[in-house]
């Protein structure tokens, strides 16, 4: 307001109240604090205070080999799921940018429909498909091949999780790819690049921000997956969330369960921090300078 800031008499009325737009985010912030902040704080506190104050839960976690094996496996499975999602989603998202609006709508629906079906139902349908007497194995046998063991294996878990998480890879990829000017490919060809070279030097680098965004979302969601690995996996594909569930619900060891959660959270942050420099797209950085 002019009385407060005489040097800018033309400043709009709300100029002195720049906090106002931020006030609109208040409900969301309060909700986040209530449903994320408070429980997280509780978990950290309980991991340090149960059964008594101290680091005993963390000492236990890192002193028990099975925990470390499962932690490592959780990251490995999540990485595989992310890779499978990238491989499946990339051509799909590209197709979405290349087709007409009607086919695109159909493709978007194919991505979104799984969202409307509960994860449990989807996982159970994978059980039907993957089990030893399931559809895939019956088909293989009737075609004269040996059956393959899919259910209760790591492969089965990766397949199931990748299917559930695929939309989280396709959508960010699509949103980046649809912004890529395909005329750049034509320009590259006029400069002497055969189509494959043009793809690897122009299209792929420009689509990487979408790959990174999708990979981060899928990877983080995969780390915390519970139902799919529990139903499709066996003892050799247990993920950390299953161990947490056992500690908390079966053994009522809230402290140990909390410590596991905190370790997973910290490990994720460390990994993201390590990956960040690679993912930062340099040309956008430069554009901002």
């Amino acid at each position: 307001m002019s009385a407060l800031d005489p040097t800018t008499p033309s400043a709009p009325k709300w100029a002195g109240r720049a906090w106002r737009p931020f006030a609109l985010t208040l409900p969301a912030l309060l909700l986040l604090a209530a449903v994320i902040g408070y429980p997280l704080l509780t978990i950290v506190l309980r991991s340090l205070s149960e059964p008594q104050w101290g680091a005993q839960n963390y000492v236990w976690f890192f002193g028990t080999p099975v925990n470390l094996t499962v932690l490592q496996r959780t990251f490995v499975i999540s990485a595989w799921v992310t890779l499978v999602c990238i491989i499946c989603a990339y051509p799909y998202a590209y197709l979405m940018t290349a087709v007409g609006p009607r086919v695109r709508l159909a493709l978007v629906l194919c991505v979104l429909i799984p969202f409307w079906v509960s994860g449990v139902v989807r996982t159970l349908s994978w059980v039907i498909l993957l089990q030893d007497s399931g559809v895939i194995n019956s088909l293989l046998r009737s075609a004269g091949f040996d059956g393959v063991r899919l259910i209760r294996t790591q492969t089965g878990v990766v397949i199931g999780m990748a299917q559930v998480l695929l939309p989280f890879m396709i959508l960010p990829l699509y949103s980046v790819m649809k912004g890529i000017d395909l005329r750049l490919m034509r320009a590259a060809q006029s400069l002497g690049a055969r189509p494959s070279r043009a793809f690897f030097t122009i299209y792929l680098p420009l689509s990487l921000p979408g790959v990174y965004a999708g990979a981060i979302i899928v990877f983080i969601l995969a780390l915390g997956f519970y139902i799919t690995p529990a139903l499709l996996g066996g003892p050799r594909s247990t993920m950390l969330s299953t161990l947490v569930q056992t500690q908390v619900l079966s053994l009522l060891q809230w402290g140990r369960g909390g410590a596991m959660g905190v370790v997973l959270l910290v490990a994720t942050f460390v990994l993201l921090a390590l990956a960040a420099p690679v993912m930062r797209s340099r040309y956008r950085e430069a554009g901002r300078r």
């Binding site: 320009a187 590259a188 060809q189 006029s190 400069l191 002497g192 043009a198 122009i202 554009g287």
Partner: protein, 370 residues
Amino acid sequence: MNPRAENRGAAIDLAKVSKAYGNFKALDGVSLRIEPGEFMTLLGPSGSGKTTTLNVIAGFTDVTSGSLLVGEKSVVGVPAHKRNIGVVFQHYALFPHMTVGRNVAYPLALRGIAGAERERRVRQALDMVKMADFSHRFPSELSGGQQQRVALARAIVFDPPLLLMDEPLGALDKKLREWLQLEIKRIHRELGTTFVYVTHDQEEALVLSDRIAVFNRGGIEQIGTGRELYDEPATLFVGKFIGDSTVLRGDAATSGGETAIEISGQKVVTARRLANGGRPVMLLRPEKLALARRGAADEGRNRLAGRIGEAIYLGSGSKYEVDLADGSKAIVRSTLEAQSFAIGDEVDLLFSGSDVKLLADDDQADLTLT
């Protein structure tokens, strides 16, 4: 840049080139010979086939029929990346994830040119477009004009014998466009490469070109220098597309060496004959028309009565739109300071019969509607 060998550009020969999309003929039997080192402009309204022709030469579009020679070799069926032709696009098409220097180095890298030689040629190309200081910038940090100069450098850095430009200045403002036109002319002179330039802007075509091919409805109406097209348009379409023109229609009668046309009761006599005997129209250039106050004596010239409909002061003179009795409009350019008219003034339109072009009437040529 060092003075390069003269005529190092490639000749282009299109013969009866057609391109059909279903029932629509984007190109209908286009034949065009472009000489080595020539600056040829393909001029026409949108959808006339000029960009399709460019895309055919570049290899982005296949031909349905006809032959296409670049540098005396057939390139039909040769993919774009093997044609070694530079292309500059209206939308710049710089790679946003590469610096200016890497953009310009891209075609060199594809040709296995590396190290000091690559550096030298990138530098040379950027010098030519006066962008050498911007080598480390990203395209997003440049203005439109700067981006287009970088795109030009990228298209000439690998020494193609032919450079295609598709409305390269279309997205820029007028002042910048005029300056870049002169830059492109200079670069063409220095390189000696064949340039094929697509535009819908006839002024731009006149500024730049050695010769102009006027496109209409998938075919070429006329090929010639700017002066030829302006002074001796072969068709009414060309006459109307190049420069301002006044078109008059009426009943014609040819006798002896003269053609007389009756326009709203007044007879206009020209020294020309209409060759094909069709229904003729008269085409007059604005500087060949004079205005006089109604009734002022000036015998021996053709005279049509009209009223000033619009008066535009241009600085170097004035432009008038004169409404004639039959409803048509005449465009007159006057550089006489002493003579000035206001809207509504009753005037006589004066012109010499030898300045009238007689052309076959062509209903398609109604450019005034677009």
